[in-house]
């Protein structure tokens, strides 16, 4: 009797391990992508991804398979990110020429079809936007990235962030305003000098929606 029970328990664990490994294999590239944009640096992104998967593994018994695994994972990741930001107490600056911490190799760019000039411009855009993301309020950054990078609906973002849809709407809008303000300040010629006036209405009228 006890031998049979032990065998079932061991099979249950083996199955869960197998499932988790498959989920990890399917999701880690996307998870790294989001983590990199959240923290802005490869080494920090690896730390975030690592902590996220360890928490996910530890709490795998609480995962409800009716929800997409990535949404559950992003919930863990964004909470971990906010925890880490609070621990560090500061916003880190990013390095524009990222190299792998161990191999020293420069990270790959997938858009190799571009001409050298386009590639330079593309890298500059990317660096500008990443810098702007790094300067944002973490909650705004998370909301904007979940909506724009991951293409999630406001409802999904609200589930992940544990807030109302009104709060999500406000965070996304104010987040985009922060992004644009930063870009305009950094490079008015490239991103347009007009900023304050056009966005003026967004600042206060939606403050009531941010009930968190």
């Amino acid at each position: 009797m006890s031998g049979g029970l032990a065998e079932i328990t061991s099979r249950l664990r083996a199955n869960k391990e197998e499932l988790f490994e498959a989920l990890l294999r399917e999701t880690y590239t996307k998870a790294f992508h989001l983590a990199l944009r959240l923290v802005g640096h490869t080494a920090d992104a690896e730390d975030l991804v690592q902590e996220t998967y360890l928490r996910a593994y530890r709490f795998f018994h609480r995962y409800d398979p009716q929800l997409p695994f990535t949404n559950w994972l992003y919930k863990i990741m964004t909470n971990t990110h906010i925890d880490q930001m609070r621990r560090k107490g500061k916003v880190k600056t990013i390095s524009l020429d990222e190299t792998h911490p161990e191999t020293g190799a420069v990270m790959d760019f997938p858009d190799t079809a571009l001409t050298p000039e386009e590639l330079v411009l593309s890298r500059e855009f990317e660096a500008d936007i990443q810098d702007a993301l790094n300067q944002m309020t973490p909650e705004f950054r998370i909301a904007v990235l979940l909506a724009d990078l991951e293409g999630l609906s406001y409802e999904e973002v609200s589930e992940i962030m544990g807030t109302s849809i009104g709060t999500v709407r406000s965070r996304i809008h104010r987040g985009r305003k922060q992004l644009r303000d930063f870009l305009v300040k950094r490079n008015p010629a490239r991103y347009g000098a007009r900023s304050e006036q056009a966005w003026e209405g967004a600042e206060n009228s939606d403050a009531g929606g941010d009930g968190s």
Binding site: T9, R37, V49, Q50, F60, L133, H173, A198, S205
Partner: protein
């Protein structure tokens, strides 16, 4: 409907996250307001730029390292079946801490009891004094306690004391 209200809804407008009546009103406002149209384009551009951030390739060994860490967690904590690990497997480090906490609690409790016992003059002190007097038995003490102080007649006098 003024520009301020429209402006606060433009992100949700771009994201197709509004009620139908809001679309109708915003579209009719946009048709006649160049400033809000300009802002709408700015929001579209920001959204598009964030969406088109290139996906960097993760380090080649990341997946393997992540899985190794999970396996280590499983070996150390039995994380996948937590009910089992909690019942049967407490990590030695935690066991030591738990043991130390129990010993400390018992020691503190014992010290408190001892202190109270030594400093309490009531009940116990009376008994100690009575024992020192010669010829007084426990039955005598019981009788004293039962005697009515006004009449001198024992209250609830019973035959068991009659023969004394």
């Amino acid at each position: 409907m003024n520009c301020r209200f429209i402006s606060s809804r433009l992100s949700a407008f771009v994201d197709r996250e509004l009620e139908m009546w809001e679309y109708v009103r915003i579209e009719s406002h946009l048709a006649k307001c160049a400033r809000c149209r300009e802002e709408l384009e700015a929001i579209r551009l920001i959204k598009q730029r964030v969406a088109s951030l290139p996906e960097r390739t993760p380090p080649a060994d990341l997946q393997e390292r992540l899985w190794d860490l999970c396996r280590r967690l499983e070996r150390e904590e039995g994380a996948l079946l937590p009910w089992r690990s909690r019942l049967f497997r407490v990590p030695p480090a935690r066991l030591t801490v738990l043991g130390a906490a129990v010993v400390a609690s018992v020691a503190v409790a014992a010290a408190v009891l001892l202190f109270q016992f030594q400093n309490s003059p009531s009940q116990t002190a009376g008994l100690e004094a009575a024992k020192e007097l010669p010829g007084i038995t426990e039955a005598d003490q019981a009788l004293d306690q039962r005697r009515n102080p006004l009449s001198g007649i024992p209250v609830g006098y019973s035959p068991e004391f009659a023969g004394r």
